[in-house]
């Protein structure tokens, strides 16, 4: 294509990255990550919030090295290809709030768009409701975009500002090395570790970190985004990002099948519940929030790695949102939605629509 030199940004580049993620994620499950959770940005940020004690749900506490890798891999790619551009100032507090509600919606469903895809590829029928909700939420977002919604312009800023989230991630890695998981101990230094549940299931640190770095690097180059995939198709009938997302699902399905991890059904799926309406509505809220914030949770990490301070604020919103979701009973569990999950979804819709309907056009 004329004027585009980045090989990862062409059709086969994005499909190749989707295939890579589709291979790596089920393998991470085989190597220890929870079922249909080879990579889940929302779940993993929730686990990080737990490891730091921002919530005390003792089954979901672990500093997930994949997330650290996503940011640092993207940072490396951005520097290597001279795309590191520190920038800030496009309604950061609004992005924080969107991050909070994106996480709350994701924890009502039990997964982000990445995990929705992996759950589908693992045979979890409940993921169909989640993906339909995701599409519906993004569709609402595209209507708001057509109505002139935008969060305003960013400005170039100091290099240091762009380094805040990568440094935070490097700090988390350092904490893991200083306070490693101890057998039979729920706490090591300042970090909480799960003794049971999904938080106790993880691939070895080095494997998770390398997988994260690789995905972060490739995703920065290809601009891989699960929300953008659906948004661009709805908005412009543009198949580019969608082809990468579809490649991920198809590949993960094939790899799951080969590894014997494909188990079709609705009942008894790993870290999932069968309340269809709330699977749908949770992901609708999440999809709307991601659309209003301009990227899926993975893309926000990759953007933060290339210096986007507003994306970094969104990530912090998601981590804090996880704390709120678990402290106040908003998060679902395999038995169903939490005691306050349903009202939280309604509040989330109200907040997102308020933002989407009132923040229009002024771009100066």
């Amino acid at each position: 294509m004329n004027g585009i030199k980045n090989v990862f940004a062409d059709r086969w580049g994005i499909v190749g990255v989707g295939i890579m993620i589709g291979i790596i994620a089920p393998l991470l499950q085989k190597w220890g990550n929870p079922g249909n959770m080879g990579v889940c940005v929302a779940c993993f940020e929730r686990d990080i919030a737990g490891a730091l004690g921002l919530h005390r749900a003792d089954v979901v506490q672990y500093i997930r090295p994949e997330i650290i890798g996503f940011v640092l891999g993207s940072l490396a790619a951005a520097y290597l290809f001279r795309e590191y551009r520190p920038r800030l100032g496009s309604a950061p507090i609004v992005r924080f709030v969107l991050g909070v509600f994106a996480m709350i919606g994701a924890l009502v469903f039990l997964g982000c768009p990445w995990r929705a895809a992996l759950r589908l590829a693992g045979g979890d029928g409940n993921a169909i409701l989640g993906l339909l909700g995701l599409i519906f939420g993004i569709w609402i977002g595209t209507l708001l975009l057509k109505g002139g919604y935008n969060l305003g312009r960013t400005r170039p800023t100091h290099h240091t500002a762009g380094w805040m989230l990568p440094l935070f991630m490097a700090g988390l890695l350092l904490l893991m090395l200083v306070f490693p998981q101890l057998t039979g101990e729920a706490k090591s230094g300042v970090l909480f570790y799960s003794m049971k549940g999904p938080g106790s299931m993880h691939a070895p640190l080095a494997v998770s970190l390398v997988a994260g770095l690789l995905i972060g690097f490739l995703a920065q180059r290809s601009r891989f985004c699960t929300m953008g995939a659906i948004r661009d198709f709805l908005l412009f009938r543009q198949m580019h990002l969608l082809s990468g997302f579809i490649a991920l699902v198809v590949t993960a399905f094939v790899v799951n099948f080969i590894l014997g991890q494909f188990k079709p059904g609705f009942e008894g799926q790993p870290v999932a519940h069968t309340m269809h309406i709330w699977n749908f509505a949770g992901m609708t809220l999440s999809g709307l929030a991601f659309c209003l914030a301009g990227g899926c949770p993975g893309r926000q990490l990759f953007l933060a790695g290339e210096g986007d301070g507003d994306a970094a604020v969104f990530v912090m919103g998601m981590i804090v949102g996880a704390g709120i979701a678990h402290n106040f009973g908003l998060a679902s569990s395999p038995t169903g939605v939490g005691p306050y999950g349903i009202p939280a979804v309604f509040i989330g819709f109200a907040v997102c629509l308020f933002i989407g309907l009132t923040m229009r056009k002024s771009m100066t």
Binding site: A9, G228, F236, M363
Partner: protein, 73 residues
């Protein structure tokens, strides 16, 4: 007639929406879009090509890209 669009500081989909709006308006046969991130540069180029326009030139100066697109035949 040449039109210019300042999409600096905006991330997708805004630069693409602005470009497509201008293409749809049908008045311009040449549009110069300025963006300041690589993803926007690629997306604007891709969107223009998908509407049958030609990417005539992409210039860069201090992290700002000027993309010149022209109406195809």
């Amino acid at each position: 007639m040449a039109k210019t669009i300042d999409a600096r500081g905006l991330s997708c989909p805004q630069p693409v929406l602005m470009t497509l709006d201008e293409i749809k308006a049908g008045k311009a046969d040449e549009i110069i879009i300025t963006v300041d991130n690589d993803a926007a540069k690629e997306n604007v180029s891709r969107a223009a090509v998908s509407r049958g326009w030609i990417v005539a030139d992409i210039g860069e100066k201090e992290g700002v890209f000027g993309i010149t697109i022209k109406k195809g035949n």
